[in-house]
Amino acid sequence: MELTRSQKEIQKAAQEFAKGEFDKEVTVELEQSRSYPAELLQKAAELGFVGLQFAEEYGGGGLGLVDACLVAEALCRKDSTMGSAVVLAAFGAECLHRFGDKKMKEQYLEQVTAGKMLAGIALGESDRGDDFTVLDTTATRSDNEWIINGKKRYVTNGGAAGFYLVLCRTEAKHAENSGVALILVEPDRPGITVADLGDKLALNSVALADITFADVRVPLTNLVGKEGQGLAQARAFLDEVKILAAARAVGIAAGAFDRALAYVKQREQFERKLAQFQITRHKIADMATKIELARLITYRAAADFDKGKADPTLSAMAKMTAARMAVEVADEAIQLFGGYGYMTEQEVERYYRDAKTIELCLGTRESQKDRIADLVIGKLK
């Protein structure tokens, strides 16, 4: 797979932006104070790094997922945490872009791509996992309004987002793929309670919260896409963002690798560079190989998506493989740094934590395997 000239330029621009704007001390401060890097997002948006795959009429780049992945990788490579925070600013907007109507997109997407608003999407519920076929959150119709009740968990940007796309049951009993809808809920509607989930393993600068909806009323026109299509839309969204998550993982791994590589070429013990020990050399070889493998599957999935041949199997494979690879590579980077690897200052421990978070969100290895197996094995007679 060869990148086009424009893709190479975007990649380079993202690398330069990250180099100029990311500062590990600021990152650590933001993480400790749990503050979102709002200024950084603004700057990234001004350069067009938010919503690259969105249509230009909504302030997007009019480009593809491959471009978005290139930017995600480049940003996370330079700083796993800030890179993730910038990419996650639009988490949920991907869904609005694909299924929302023109009015909604004008109202919200323009602000997201301008870096002035964070997106939010609330799919999961407690004890339900990521198959969403059973939902407790309901949306009932009353005159010209939806009345929403229920509790959603683990909402990225929860409490900070400018809108939430909420997955609701609209019919009492629903068979697979019917009776479920995505409804846009503005955060200032009465009846919304946000419960922040507190300190996290990683990504403390990005909010994560449970959100409760108690008789929250929104106009019927807040329906996103079609009633009855909510589940399919949610899955299509997940299939898309899993590829972006994989790209983040590739970037995180590459960033941990860059640091470890530079370190082993410079650090001496026993009067030799670490890079002269065969074990170190083989570790470097393993890490480089793993990154390349994960990168290949990730961009293959993104390229197919851009060609209109989105493949949910490949999405799940890419997310699972890239996240696992990133965890392993970052972990090895810690080891290669020795005691320094355990220190905040050297960053790689934060890269590890950020990688691990990717492995734990959007469905764990078991969930991905379930999905892949469903698709590969198919229905049994």
Partner: protein, 380 residues
């Protein structure tokens, strides 16, 4: 069959210790993690309770117990998840240097304090440019009349902020041979020229005061040399077997705790209407983790008994240090996945466990160094 068997007295010791930790330590661990330090008073309480340095003879206030007491303390400390109160490091790694190589005067002066908790100890080998390669240390100790003058810096020193007594390795620049130039010295906190640097921010062990230490013309009396001049390396090497075994005592109980907690979580957490533990994939993963933990436990207990018998088990302890510390990391990493999204919250105990156990394959000799030693001692 249990490999290690405990006397009634030892079982009673365990019970008292557990009560003590539940009362005086566990309730405060979160606070100490936030403060990045444990108060010295808790060391004193632990010492007064008779739980520090149980191997020290009664002559100096200890109980002269065998290494089983170290196992008990390590196991019970693991349950508190308190890394700051590094009792095993103090009792089983640092103080034994003084106990084995100290003169009667040195022992009389310091051991009772080490036992009753008035003296918190630390050992400083690592330097910014000399970690795995201990012999590459640059800190110098030069005799001048009745004094020894120390210059240089050490880093990553556990108990670095709290320590009252430091055992430091330094080289005599007059001696060319790397290995014969190193001696150990006792430096008291507060000695002019001994400065405790900043506390290092790290992935885990937040309540542990890992620090940098600086020495500029730090003068100590000549009597504070520990052991023979130039025998520093020999002493370090002699004590490493127990140090590595102490790491194993940290790793295995930590892994047991993680698995115990994960099994419980998988029993209660429901996914799509059924308890996680009813999923075949989860069951298999748990069985694999439990198998690893049990293998670790068996090897650990065997090595403890060999060590008590006085056997030389350098190869085995190196293998066990590397394997058990990797095992606990593997188990914690896998456990986080079984726990799923909850594994991204600090509220989940496995998150802290994972951040804490990561260091185990690095300190006290990295796992690469462990494998190298095992290879070397087996004549490869």
């Amino acid at each position: 069959m249990n490999i290690i068997t405990y006397s009634a007295e030892q079982q009673e010791f365990r019970k008292r210790l557990r009560d003590f930790l539940e009362r005086e330590v566990s309730p405060y661990v979160d606070q100490w993690e936030r403060e990045h330090l444990v108060p010295k008073s808790v060391w004193q309480k632990m010492g007064r309770g008779g739980f520090l340095c149980p191997s020290i003879s009664t002559e100096y206030g200890g109980i002269g117990g065998d290494f089983r007491y170290a196992v008990i303390v390590a196991e019970e400390m693991s349950r508190t998840c308190c890394t700051g109160l590094a009792a095993s490091l103090h009792s089983d790694v640092v103080v034994p240097y003084l106990d084995s190589f100290g003169t009667p005067e040195q022992k009389r002066k310091y051991l009772p304090g080490c036992v009753n908790g008035d003296i918190i100890s630390a050992v400083a080998m690592t330097e910014p440019d000399a970690g795995s390669d201990v012999a590459g240390m640059k800190t110098t100790a030069v005799e001048q009349g009745d004094e020894i003058v120390i210059n240089g810096s050490k880093t990553f020193i556990s108990n670095g902020v709290n320590c009252d007594l430091l055992i430091i390795a330094a080289r005599d620049p007059g001696i060319a041979s790397k290995h014969h130039a190193v001696s150990l010295y006792l430096v008291e906190a507060g000695t002019p020229g001994f400065n405790k640097g900043r506390q290092l921010e790290k992935m885990g062990w937040h309540s542990q005061d890992t620090a940098e230490l600086f020495f500029s013309d730090c003068r100590i009396p000549k009597q504070n040399r520990l052991g023979e001049n130039g025998s520093g390396f020999m002493m370090l090497m002699q004590k490493l077997q127990q140090e590595r075994l102490t790491c194993v005592l940290g790793a295995v109980p930590a892994a047991e705790l993680v698995v115990e907690w994960t099994v419980e979580r998988c029993r209660t957490a429901v996914q799509n209407g059924k308890p996680l533990i009813k999923s075949q994939a989860v069951q298999f993963a748990l069985v694999e983790m439990l198998t690893e933990v049990k293998l670790g436990r068996t090897y650990m207990e065997k090595l403890v008994m060999d060590h008590i018998e006085g056997q030389t088990i350098v190869v085995e302890t190196s293998m066990a240090k590397y394997w058990t510390t990797e095992m606990v990391n593997r188990v914690a990493d896998r456990a986080l996945e079984l726990v799923g999204e909850y594994g991204t919250l600090e509220d989940c105990p496995i998150v802290r466990a994972k951040r804490d156990v990561r260091v185990m394959s690095i300190f006290a000799g990295t796992n690469e160094i462990m494998k190298g030693i095992a290879a070397k001692f087996m004549g490869m």
